[in-house]
């Protein structure tokens, strides 16, 4: 059974059909990539899955459960984590605090206990910290633990955002252009991490990416979209060979 089922998903902003009739399903343990030219609706699909946007029609199922009616803040609890195309970190906090914020769905204390800082709060904090340290070790963020985000280079911020998503302890991670703005070496690191997430952590990865070398290297299946409509689905090679996809990218009359 597939982990994530997207059926006939659509969102219209007035007359603009940003996403129109997109269906796909992601199997557990799969790395699934969505590609497409700028404005194709890739990030919009992500925003629909993480319930930031309300779909015009269509359903989203996660783990057999219809999540189309869920609130945005209930999504993380189900085990769906995400990153953002334009990094959305908490700029005035340290890397460590950013990662700890990723543990929010696992909090077991209320604000009164927090204010009094009862022993239970300390126990919980230690447990969260241990989980977060695993993420720090995995992404090699040790050197930046106590650095504030606002002073960090772009590449590191990108990694911290992946780390924050991992700190949730998700089943499915949505990566919105994890390699954009990264150097070749950094992109290679991201490729290894995606491999490890799948193999060692048993994660399912759904990503939007422009960098075809990364997509080819890590993804099992690729969905190409253009103008909010699905173009082709298959392995990276199959999709790249698709005449419709080539037309969407290059604008030739091949698929007319």
């Amino acid at each position: 059974m597939s982990l994530l089922d997207v059926e006939n998903l659509a969102i219209h902003f007035g007359g603009v059909k940003a996403v129109d009739g997109v269906s796909f399903s992601v199997d557990p343990g799969e790395v699934f990539a969505i590609i497409g030219p700028n404005g194709a609706g890739k990030s919009t699909i992500f925003n629909l899955i993480s319930r930031i946007y309300e779909p015009t029609h269509g359903t989203i199922r996660f783990d057999g459960q219809d999540i189309t009616g869920f609130k945005a803040h209930d999504i993380a609890r189900l085990g769906i984590a995400r990153t953002f195309q334009n990094i959305e970190l908490f700029d005035h906090s340290t890397v460590l605090d950013n990662l700890l914020m990723g543990r929010h769905t696992h909090r077991a204390t209320n604000f009164v206990q927090d204010i009094l800082f009862l022993p239970k709060v300390r126990r919980e904090e230690r447990a969260h910290r241990e989980r977060v340290e695993e993420v720090i070790e995995f992404l090699e963020l040790e050197a930046y633990r106590k650095k504030r985000i606002e002073g960090l280079p772009y590449g590191v911020r990108k990694v911290v955002e992946i780390g924050r998503a991992l700190a949730i302890g998700p089943k499915l991670i949505l990566l919105d252009e994890p390699a954009s703005g990264l150097s070749v070496e950094e992109t290679q690191d991201v490729a290894y991490w995606i491999e490890d997430m799948r193999r060692d952590m048993g994660l399912t990865v759904l990503m939007v990416e422009h960098d075809m070398s990364l997509v080819t290297q890590v993804s099992d299946r690729v969905l190409a979209v253009a103008n909010g409509r699905p173009l082709a689905m298959g392995t990276a090679a199959e999709v790249q060979a698709d005449p419709g996809v080539q037309a969407a990218y290059l604008g030739t009359g091949a698929a007319a």
């Binding site: 930031i52 945005a72 995400r82 959305e88 543990r103 929010h104």
Partner: protein
């Protein structure tokens, strides 16, 4: 430079990362506790006033500094606190019930109005809170049987467990009472900020969209922050009522709200310490100006006492200078000075350049 070598996660969880810093705060609290023996009545009363302002400033700091919600209406919560406390005590409720009740009343009221208000942000939220302030002011005048209306109300002398905490009769005790409340609230506030609740406040302040993606219920978090904020301000209001003794609605004017905003902005948004530094500045400035005015008059024969609005103008100039040159406020400046000394002589001019970013509170959305 002192390197703190950490050997357990607990050293990150603790309030102070090094015993020396803890000792410094202990000495500070010790001096504050000994103040009644060190200074005269006038300065002790001023210190009490400063502590009350710091308490109110901490209240506003939770909302503005740590959750990113500007409020121009916090004088309303001071008023709710002061009137609840005074009205309850006037019907015979003892102080140790009336005082927490005042905080609770202001807090619950704040949380309730926050639920619709937090959907707004920036300037719109500021205007909405201003409207709340006007409503509360009118309510105070209308509820004359409870509040004394335009005439005002008397905050009775505090006696608890057979000890007098009278503002005039036992100023030392009154001061200690205020100090105890301030220390307790500061401790709770610091605890809050090192716990998941505090982190969720910061998350909502810095990026609502990713806060949601992490499973944080933004509306509930903002309402909680606003409720705690107005609750603490309500406690300060109750103490302010006792400090003034007899007051009517005019005590809690819009200027109080603005001064409170100055406390947190000049003190340093996002730092608990900022509320204290801001309070010292706001309560100390009129004194300094008065002293300057007298000495100018006595030594040089220049009389600036006749210039109206001098205090307000000076405040405004200071605020503008801070927003332009030091958005992190007095405490942020102090951190930089401390770093400069700690790493002497390795400080570089551009070291904090990237840190000069504004909190979202200060931006117009």
């Amino acid at each position: 430079m002192r390197i703190v070598f950490k050997t357990s996660y607990d050293s990150d969880i603790d309030l102070h990362e090094h015993w020396r810093r803890r000792a410094k705060y202990a000495v500070l609290v010790g001096i504050m506790a000994l103040l009644p023996f060190l200074v005269g009545e006038y300065y002790l009363a001023e210190a009490a006033n400063t502590l009350i302002w710091a308490l109110a400033g901490m209240g506003l700091m939770i909302a503005v500094g740590h959750t990113g919600q500007v409020s121009l209406g916090h004088a309303a919560f001071l008023a709710i606190g002061a009137y609840t406390d005074a009205a309850l005590m006037n019907v015979g409720v003892p102080f140790w019930i009336a005082f927490p009740a005042a905080g609770l009343m202001a807090g619950v009221f704040g949380a309730i109005i926050a639920i619709p208000a937090v959907r707004m942000s920036g300037i719109y939220l500021a205007i909405a809170t201003l409207a709340v302030f006007v409503i509360v002011e009118e309510l105070v005048i209308m509820l004359e049987p409870i509040t004394g209306g335009v005439g005002g109300i008397m905050a009775p002398s505090i006696t608890a467990f057979g000890i007098s905490f009278d503002r005039y009769g036992a100023l030392g005790n009154f001061y200690w009472l205020i100090l105890a409340v301030v220390v307790l609230v500061t401790w709770g506030y610091a605890n809050l900020m090192r716990s998941p609740t505090g982190r969720s406040f910061l998350a909502v302040r810095d990026s609502e969209v990713s806060a949601r993606a992490l499973g944080i219920n933004v509306t509930r978090t903002k309402a909680l922050a606003f409720g705690l904020s107005s609750g603490v301000t309500g406690l300060a209001g109750a103490l302010m009522g006792h400090y003034i003794g007899f007051f009517n609605y005019e005590l809690f004017s819009i200027f109080i709200s603005i001064n409170l905003l100055l406390v947190v902005t000049i003190g340093g948004l996002g730092f608990i310490q900022g509320a204290f530094l801001g309070a010292i500045l706001i309560t100390g400035m009129p004194q300094v100006i008065a002293i300057l005015r007298d000495s100018l008059n006595a030594n040089f024969g220049i009389n600036i006492g006749a210039v109206p609005g001098l205090d307000t103008m000076l405040f405004s100039v200071i605020l503008i200078l801070f927003i332009i040159f030091e958005p992190t406020g007095l405490y942020g400046r102090w951190l930089k000075i401390r770093t400069w000394f700690e790493i002497f002589p390795l400080a570089r001019r551009d070291m904090f350049r990237r840190h000069k970013t504004y909190l979202k509170t200060e931006r117009m959305k």
